[in-house]
Amino acid sequence: DMEQNNSLPPFQGLASPQGAMTPGMPIFSPMMPYGSGLTPQPVTNTNSLSLLEEQQRQQQQQQQASAQQAGVPGGLGQTPQLYHSQTVTTTTLPGNTPLYTATPLTPMTPITPATPASESSGIVPQLQNIVSTVNLGCKLDLKTIALRARNAEYNPKRFAAVIMRIREPRTTALIFSSGKMVCTGAKSEEQSRLAARKYARVVQKLGFPAKFLDFKIQNMVGSCDVKFPIRLEGLVLTHQQFSSYEPELFPGLIYRMIKPRIVLLIFVSGKVVLTGAKVRGEIYEAFENIYPILKGFRKTT
């Protein structure tokens, strides 16, 4: 029988440690190589834009603190680029000898007001695709299936399986001659299971002694929108060990979270794709982990 994991509410209960919380660090990833996460990381790029944004963010924080005391209207909070720009125009441009410059600056954790531990994002990722497998328990003759089923295609030269589709739930199945089947395209675990059962019934009606053994969800994909633009260049610098951002190859940042073991694709528009989950809760947990980090890179121009 299928694992009964689909009734978990969005992940809220895992409170982060109270007190010294650094929203910059993934809260639920104890395997980080930098210990408590407060270790300053040496910075090699002294002239990178995002680094200057770091400095500017700190300045902005200080300014905000002093501005609040002085009663200045909140204009400062909206034009962070003022300080940022000033520092850029006065520093020298990259020289001709790019030596390895390791200048440990202040800790790389973005110093933004810490979010209260119990506050969840309020955004729930939507499941977009479920991939599951099942064993029909008998050898199948793919030619017969392709001949006698309306919704099947079989091109042995291209791929060694029958591709079958049903309308409701709208899914696609790959049926192999060994009797194993892969079902893709469902939007929930239950839908995937229902669809797989329907495919098994079709195969049964075609004359094979099909059973329904070892149904298992193999992968779940979810997506959501945090509704603010994200500075990917900054994120890749502060979370180097998890992130890969190569704009020459792919426009999004690939974040490999360790706990839970989920891969996130983060785009500049604020849209996030989460994949690699075996249960729904992992997707929710991963998103709740990444949300405070992303908020730290929220930029208002």
């Binding site: 790029n45 720009s85 990259p94 089923a149 049903i166 019934r201 633009p229």
Partner: protein, 407 residues
């Protein structure tokens, strides 16, 4: 029996055996001892290396003489380092990386093509570790390889060797990119020439503006670099001659490969400049168009901060005046707009992917199922062909097959 069907010419026996005489292979009759045929006494070099029973990788030769591909790879790494004029330390680092990666189980059995690309990836990783600005596109050009393949091999290599190679920031790439533009007085007419230093300085400010306006994140770096340099060149001396130059012509003059994306970036950057230029007080609200903005770039960049502040406040005023009017309209239009607008939309600058968001396919409402529902027979039958259909299908297929044969 060594060979079937071979008969001894002396006694006619069929019993011929392989019997080497020292190192000379011979076929000898087992009954009368006559030598039926014999091979060469000496072997050629290629026979020695290729005709062996034991594979190179399983023999002890591996330890005595390093693999030829490894040597070639190291030469390639060194050549790339020399072309890029890297320091000696970096060359050594790259070589070390390559040796380690090559001998790692993840890479020892990959195709030769991947091994060639691996050399370039090691150089790239070394450059990044030493903050030497280099784009992946440069490695692509040097290796003449597919960028996707380079990406795959690079990421695999970094993971295998556990290297930490922070990606180059775009500002650092700008200077190296700028030096490729041949705009010195000896290359072009004096009126069109510009020193690399001035160009870089102006382009850096433009690039920073572009980055702030979300034109850089998530996009290919080279086109935006080209666009910045082009606009910098135009704005440093906004004469009619320069303004008449299109991006394509500029790239041709500067002997730089032109790109199809850079013109779009030029348009976007001009839009940003127009938004700021609009706030110049001495224009008194006159409209700033992409055609007229170049002459004002100097002023815009010098007073960037003030203009930005003013643009933000006027944008806010515009939004504030809009919202009480659209408040009622929004309520009616709500079911046609299921999504809450991105907060980026409410700002002055937003990433283009947000502003020109793709229209989402209407989401089919998720039907709640338990997975254990009854499956009706009629539904399943709808997926199965009737006997008549099967007959028709088979006939049609045969007809097609026979007509193909006739052709």
């Amino acid at each position: 029996m060594a060979t079937v069907g071979l008969k001894c010419p002396e006694c006619g026996s069929l019993d011929i055996v392989d019997d080497e005489h020292y190192s000379q292979p011979q076929l000898v009759c087992a009954d009368c001892g006559a030598v039926v045929s014999e091979g060469l006494l000496t072997t050629t070099r290629s026979e020695e290396t290729q005709g062996t029973d034991v594979r190179y990788s399983n023999s002890t030769e591996v330890d005595k003489k390093p693999c030829r591909n490894l040597i070639n790879g190291i030469h390639r790494v060194r050549a790339l380092c020399r072309i890029l004029r890297l320091t000696f330390l970096m060359e050594e680092t790259a070589e070390t990386h390559f040796k380690q990666a090559y001998e790692h189980p993840n890479f020892i059995r990959v195709s030769l093509q991947k091994k060639e690309v691996l050399a370039g990836c090691c150089v790239l990783a070394t450059c990044r570790q030493h903050s030497w600005p280099i784009a992946m596109g440069t490695i692509c050009c040097l290796l003449e390889a597919n960028p996707r393949l380079i990406g795959v091999v690079y990421q695999e290599m970094v993971k295998t060797l556990k290297i930490e190679a922070p990606p180059t920031s775009i500002i650092n790439l700008l200077e190296t990119h700028c030096q490729a533009y041949k705009l010195s007085p000896q290359h072009v007419h004096e009126e069109l020439s510009e020193s690399s230093k001035d160009l870089t300085k102006r382009a850096a400010v433009l690039l920073e503006l572009a980055a702030d306006a979300w034109l850089v994140t998530g996009r290919q770096p080279i086109p935006i670099l080209t666009a910045s340099i082009f606009l910098a060149w135009q704005s440093l001396k906004p004469t009619q001659t320069r303004l008449k130059y299109t991006l394509a012509r500029f790239c041709q003059m500067a002997k730089v490969t032109k790109s199809s994306i850079a013109p779009k970036r030029v348009t976007e950057l001009k839009e940003v400049l127009c938004k700021l230029g609009q706030e110049l007080p001495w224009l008194r609200g006159d409209e700033v168009t992409p055609q007229t903005v170049i002459q004002m770039v100097d002023d815009i960049l010098n007073h960037r901060l003030t203009l930005l502040r003013r643009a933000l406040s006027s944008h806010e005023e515009a939004l504030a005046s809009e919202s009480p009017d659209t408040g009622s309209v929004q309520q009616q239009g709500d079911h046609s707009q299921p999504s809450v607008p991105n907060s980026g939309k409410r700002s002055l600058f937003e990433p283009p992917s947000v502003r020109y968001a793709k229209i989402r396919r209407v989401q089919v409402p998720v039907v709640e199922v338990t997975g254990d529902e009854e499956i009706s027979d009629s539904e399943i039958d709808s997926y199965i062909r009737t006997p008549q259909e099967i007959r028709d299908y088979v006939e049609a297929k045969e007809a097609l097959a026979s007509s193909d044969d006739e052709l």
